[in-house]
Structures are given as structure tokens and as C-alpha cells.
Amino acid sequence: MSEEYVIECENLKFFYPGSETAALNGVSFSVRRGEFLSVVGHNGSGKSTLARLLNGLLQADEGTVRVLGTDVGDAKNAVEIRKSVGIVFQNPDNQTVASIVEDDVAFGPENIGVDREEISRRIEWALGAVGMLDYRHATPSRLSGGQKQRIAVAGVLAVKPQILILDESTAMLDPKGRKEVIDVVKRLNEEEGMTVILITHFMEEALLADRTIVMNKGEIALSGTPEEIFESGETLETFNLSLPKITVLCNALRGAGMRIDNVLRPEELAEKIAENFVNRGISGGQSQKFTPKPFESAHEWDVEISDLSFTYSKKSPFAKKALDGIDLKIGEGEFFGVIGHTGSGKSTLVQHLNALIKLPSANKKYRAKKPKNGQPAPVIPRISVGQFDLSDKKCDFKALRASVGMVFQYPEYQLFAETVFQDVAFGLKNFNKNLTPEEIAQAVESSIEIVGLNYEEVKDKSPFDLSGGQKRRVAIAGVIVTKPHILILDEPAAGLDPKGKNEIMELLHKLHREWCKTVIIVSHDMDEVAENCTRACVISEGKVFACGHPADVFKRADELRSLGLDVPMTAKIADGLARRGYIIDSDCTLDDFSEKVIGLFNGEGEGNA
């Protein structure tokens, strides 16, 4: 063995019990000390299985894994191996054992018999390394996803491993949390010389590594530096992966005759584009203007919200103001985006729209208070959805919920029935007790078909036997089965791989065209909103910060950043170009942006200097 390699895998094969197909089929690779390796692959490509083989949580059926020269296959070495290889898993909620941060970080060192003073030093070091030292005595359940995941990293670090594996540890986080975790890992690699294996399906994260391995169907499909991998272009898509958006843009611009190498950061790309302009003799200018269609209202199924405020656990020491004077209009036929980071109140807002959270005035016990002498009358929050007045206690809430469908985050976790058919029919039967079995079967069939599943194939299956993506589709079918006019989805693409994400967004557009009048998505992915929505609003600290066409919303890039929100990649590049004197006025989608840049490049801009 050579000292240089910390992990050596040879011809690994692994079969899950009862499965005919190999989860891993002959995987060989080595990892150098201090290397930052990223492993990408679609869901089910075997990348998580690989992580578990590396620290002996699973044992390979064939082949060997050596960590620092020790054979992982030998059960006697289990504790030694786990001391050297730490894994951080996907779900930030399911990795902590204690209700106090420092107790949780202490868990690993306690297990290997470290003495008290040393544990204390390690807690301090590990929490410092992830930037959570101030939260030493905090409770994990009250922290944000990114913070929880940093605690999980600290818990692993406290064992002092030489190799850190992150098994899709960012998949369930919002962009802010994702950045927090990635920054921590990157710093550990650079400053502490930690060997890092980052398993992810976010291409943008894979780019940060020294080397990338692409997994497909249990095999290593590609291996090389990130630049080399993304050079290979279209082949990536055959592995169910998508190119990073920036690479797509580079390719489009190159196709139009611009001289652009593959770059990975928006700022670099802006610089490259500007160079191209200068070389063409275009020293400044403006692309064709983009004018968003004005917002027109007054349809049958408009949503109007005024003066909406809401406080959780009112009158208790834990009271938390979630919404603070929201005024918002969503017109019929829109594909509306609600943006905000976790805890901004966006989920609370949409739960008002189908009266899962009722307005105070809709409560049975509600009596209007008379204003006290000399004081202005208190503002009464009002919401109307179509002809439903949600502030009225006589409102037919059941009919409202049939008209306003709501798909929660990770909706597949709410499946419960024995067969897909029964689960999808659940809502329908609840809302309308007088349907004949034929009517039910027909409605269920058409809703299963429209979400892209084969009715005959899945109807009698247990929903729990389906794949992750299929489960989500079944869950969506279970909501749209009542033909709601308005469909609300909370983070519909959360936790999916890039291909799954695209498919879900396509599905939503299809539903928007053929099934529901209005689609409202709650999202923290700015690119997703920019690409898909006709209008969007930004919620921050319970208030509407901005509302309008995505292009207008994202023009306030600096303010959005100060709120801890990101902007789409196109807005970042446009920003970089604007500082160099080139104004690209696009609707923020990738297609329109590249078109406008190419237009300017070809001298079709407005008022060229």
C-alpha cells in the first residue's frame, strides 16, 4: 500500500438482499490524502451505497475496500474504520441523539472512550470549525436546517476522522443552508487538510471538488476534474444528470460564435462576455427591452389577501410572529411563485389560502371587538379566493378545500392507503360522498394518468413499493383528483435529483395548461422561479418585500442578498455585465437571457454606443 492513498477500492460489487440487480457493479477507485472528491449520480445510481461501504455500515459482496491500509471487510476493524471515516447523512433531523448541541457533539467521543477534558476541547474545536460555537447550549430542534446539518458535521468531526463523507447532506436544505454546509466543508478541506468525499446531485456543488466521479447504474461512468466532466456535455444527460446551468449558457453562447471557455462562476462568465463585446468593438449598450405583461385582475378565481397577520402560540412565552400585514393579489391563470427562506412565513401564508389556518374572524367563537374610545378600529385580515370569503365564518370550508388543492413539502410522506387507487381516491371520497364507484374510478384514472403514471400498472400496487419520484406523483394525483381551480405546492421539487426536478416542473406546467387554472409554488430556488413563474413575490420576516414579474423582483439583487436570499444565475451575470456598461434586460430565464446577449453581440441592441 502507498501512504498517499487513504481509500483504495477494488472491484466492489454489492447486491441489496432480494434484489437481482447490482447496486454496485465493479467499482474501483482511490482517494488521495487531502483530496476533495465529489461523487454525482442520479437517485439510485449507487452513490449512497458506496458511502456505506466505505465505513463498513454495509459489507461488499465482492471486492475490497481499504481505508488507511485497513481492510473494511473485517468486522473486527469496524470501530477503527469508523474513527477514520465520518459520514454525515441526508436528513438533518435524524442524526442528533441529544437535545443540547454540546451533548450531541460529545456523543461520538464518548463512544470511543475519550476523557472529559479532551471531549470538551474537541467540542470547542468541532463547533468552531463549523461556526456554531455560539450555539453550544442551544436545542437542535429550534435551529435551521443548515445549522442542524452543521451540528451533524461537528458531531462527526469530534471523533477526529481523517476522511469526511457527506452523503447528500445538502439535499434537504435551502440554498442558504446548503451554502453554509458547503463553505464549512470546503474550509475543512483547505485549512485542516481533511480528505472530503462529497456525494451530491447538485452539479454546482460538484464543481467545487478537485476531482469528480459520475456514477451510473452502479458503475463509475466518468471520472476527472469537474471541467473535464462538464466538457463531456450531452453524455451527462444520458446518465440522468443535467449540466450546470452555467455550462448550458456557455454552450449556447459559444454556439452563437462567441469565444467562451467553460467557466464555472457567473462573475467569470460576465467578464468573458464583456471581453467578447470589446473584441467586437461594442463598448457599451443595451439589449432589446423586456416588458412584462401588465398584471390584469378581475377573473372568477382571483385570490386577494389584505392585512393578513398571524402569530404562532399567541400569548405564550414562545409567541412567534409569522405574518405581518400581508397584502397580495394572485390572478386567475398565473403561475405564481412565493419566495423566501425557511422561516420567512411563506408556508404560513399559503396555508391560509385553503383555511388550514383559519382567519380569526372565521372562528365560531369570534365576536367583533368594538374599538376602544379614541383608538382606530383594529384592522381585520381578509382573504377571498374566488367567491369564497375566508373571513366569514359561514364560508363553506370543505368546498373551498376542494377548489384549492394543497401539496405539502415531501408529499410522499403522507401516503397511507393500501393501494395507489385508494390513496388517490381518499380526497375525492372525503369531499363528495355521493359519487358512484364508476365516477370515482374515472376521476382517479384521469388524475393518475395526467401525473404521468400508468393507471393499470400502479392502481393496485402499494404506494410504498413505488420509487421516490413515483410516490411524489401519486401524492400530487391525490390532491388534484378533485380538479381544484387553484393548486398550491410547497417546494414541489425538494430533494429530487436534477432530472426529477425538471420532470416535476414539466408536470406542473402540464397541470397548469390542462387541469388547474392557477398554480402557486412556494420555493427557495430562485432559478426555478425565474424559469417557471409568471409572477412572484418575496416574503421576508412576514412581510411582502417585493411582488411582480421575476425580472422586476430580481432587479433588486443587492437588497435580496441582504435578506439572505439569492438571485438567479442570469441576474448575477446581468449584474456583472451592467457594471461593465452592458445592460441585458431579460425576463431572467436562461433562453431569453442568452438570446439577448447574443442579440447585443450581433449588434441588435437598442441605442448602441
Binding site: 456505506r52 465505513n55 455500515l57 469496524a78 470501530v79 469508523r82 474513527k83 465520518g86 459520514i87 447523512f89 441526508q90 436528513n91 435524524n94 442524526q95 441523539v97 441529544a98 437535545s99 454540546e102 451533548d103 460529545a106 456523543f107 461520538g108 464518548e110 463512544n111 472512550g113 472529559r116 471531549i119 467540542i123 437542535p140 430542534s141 458531531g155 462527526v156 471523533v159 404562532y312 402560540s313 405564550s316 412565552p317 414562545f318 396555508q351 385553503n354 388550514l356 370543505k398 378545500r401 394543497m406 405539502f408 413539502q409 408529499p411 410522506y413 403522507q414 401516503l415 397511507f416 392507503a417 381518499f426 380526497g427 372525503n430 369531499f431 410504498f464 391525490g478 390532491v479 378533485t482
Partner: protein, 281 residues
């Protein structure tokens, strides 16, 4: 539905009682309850009341939240009090109506009974209001330590308690989410007869169970990855240490024990016969 559940009763301030060692508080509660049931006369009971009152003051928790715990048992308290009052029996008959006979002794017995339960509940709520569930777990683990010598799995028990505590808020969130999701699909949990309601819970319970098992699986992996094994050479980071406050509390309770014993023995000599409860039995 579960929105207002703030787990445990812990009331966050930094009072004298809050900062006591959880072991001292646990032992003090046990001692106090024992004393309540050993107090043979009103003087001893008054001594207990004084200490309890002092503890409530020192804990600096709102009186309302202390009394709230009594509300839960108010009905049982009144019901048994009335039964005792009417049917306890005794020697000195005060009044009689139909089958109900009220004796002087039954009045004294009832008063003692009510006071005992009342003090017991208040004392327990002082403990839970001032001690986090985590600290309680640590305290219990530490107090049970000697049982390891008879192979009792103290550490495992403590870990189970700790994990349970850790997952309660997570599972409450999850339950709320599932309830909302099923409500959005028209599920009705609030009307219908008992069978309908039980049936209505199925769409909540099944996803919740599945999710709990999934979480348990993942947690098991995460614990394994952090070197958890049943090996014996485990160390413990958290160590409870006694401070001057604990010493003060110890002396207060030591004097209370001594006081109650002395009052039980000698108060008979210095007080009117009617207050001596022990004579009745």
C-alpha cells in the same frame, strides 16, 4: 391541533431553584412527598407548607403556571374529598342527613388529604417548571448509576430517554404536517361518532409510523457511523457537580426532615387535641 404543545413545562429563568443540581431536586421531591405522608399533625404539615412556599418564591415562576398543574387534578381532588368527607366515618358525629354522616374526624382527614395532594402536585410542578427534561434525564441517569453493578442497563435507558426527548418536537411537527395535509384532502377529524373518528386517525397514524421507523433507521446508521457500540469503555462528558446552592438546599431539607420528625413526636404535648390527627387512627 397540536400547535400549542410546548414540550414539557419548563419555564426559562435563571432562579436559585433552576440552578440546583437535578439530582438534589429529584431527591428533595422524593423526601418532600415522603414527609407529606408522614406528617402526623398540622404543625408538621405547616412546616412542609413553609418550605414549599419558599421554594415556589425562590423558583421565580409565575404563580399561575404553578396553579395550572393543580387544575388538572381538581376534579379528582374534589370528588375524593367529598367522598371522604361523607363516608370516612369517625367518633364525633357533627351532623347527619339520610345516609350521610359527617364526623369531626372525617373533616380533619379530608383536610389532610386535600392538603397532601395539593402540596404534592405543586412540589412536582416546581420540579418540572424549573428543570429541563434533559437535566432530569441526566439526574435520573446519575441517581441510577449504582444499579449498573447489578447489570441494569442504566446508560442504555438514559440514551433511550434522551433520544425520545430529542424526537418529541420533531414528531410533533411531523404530526402537524400530516394532519394539515390530510385536512387539505378533505379529511375530517372533528365530527362523527367515535368509530368514524378512530377511522379518521388512520391516515395520520400510518404515515407517522412509517416516518418514525424511517427516522429510527437513519438515526441508527448515524449512531453507528459515530462509533456507537455496546462496548463498555464509554466515557461521559457531562458530569453533574454540586454547588453551594445544592448545599443550601440540602440543609433546608435536612432541617425539614428533622423538623417534621420532632413535630410529629412533641407537637402533641404543646397543641390542642383537635389538631392531632394521629390520635384518630
Amino acid at each position: 391541533m397540536l400547535n400549542d404543545v410546548t414540550f414539557g413545562q419548563y419555564y426559562p429563568t435563571q432562579s436559585f431553584v433552576h440552578r440546583l443540581d437535578p439530582r438534589i431536586k429529584l431527591l428533595a421531591l422524593i423526601a418532600f412527598i415522603t414527609l407529606l405522608f408522614c406528617s402526623a399533625n398540622f404543625y408538621a404539615m405547616a412546616a412542609c407548607a413553609v418550605v414549599l412556599f419558599a421554594a415556589v418564591i425562590a423558583a421565580r415562576v409565575p404563580f399561575k403556571s404553578v396553579l395550572r398543574s393543580v387544575k388538572g387534578i381538581l376534579f379528582i381532588l374534589l370528588f375524593t374529598a367529598v367522598l371522604n368527607l361523607f363516608f370516612h366515618g369517625g367518633e364525633t358525629l357533627l351532623c347527619e342527613w339520610w345516609i350521610i354522616k359527617i364526623y369531626l374526624e372525617s373533616i380533619i382527614f379530608t383536610v389532610f388529604f386535600v392538603l397532601r395532594l395539593f402540596f404534592l402536585v405543586i412540589a412536582s410542578s416546581v420540579l418540572t417548571l424549573t428543570t429541563t427534561p434533559v437535566a432530569l434525564t441526566d439526574g435520573i441517569e446519575s441517581l441510577l448509576k449504582p444499579l449498573t453493578y447489578i447489570k441494569f442497563p442504566v446508560h442504555e435507558l438514559a440514551l433511550i430517554m434522551s433520544i425520545a426527548l430529542r424526537f418529541i418536537p420533531t414528531l410533533i411537527d411531523e404530526t402537524n404536517r400530516i394532519i394539515s395535509a390530510q385536512k387539505a384532502r378533505g379529511a375530517d377529524f372533528e365530527s362523527g361518532n367515535i368509530f368514524k373518528r378512530i377511522k379518521a386517525v388512520v391516515p395520520i397514524l400510518i404515515p407517522l409510523l412509517i416516518s418514525a421507523f424511517r427516522r429510527a433507521d437513519e438515526l441508527g446508521d448515524a449512531m453507528d457511523a459515530r462509533c456507537y457500540s455496546n462496548a463498555r469503555h464509554r466515557t461521559k462528558y457531562k458530569k453533574l457537580t454540586l454547588g453551594w446552592r445544592d448545599l443550601v438546599a440540602f440543609f433546608v431539607f435536612a432541617s425539614l426532615i428533622a423538623g417534621v420528625v420532632l413535630l410529629n413526636i412533641y407537637a402533641q404535648a404543646i397543641c390542642p387535641e383537635i389538631f392531632v390527627y394521629i390520635k384518630i387512627r
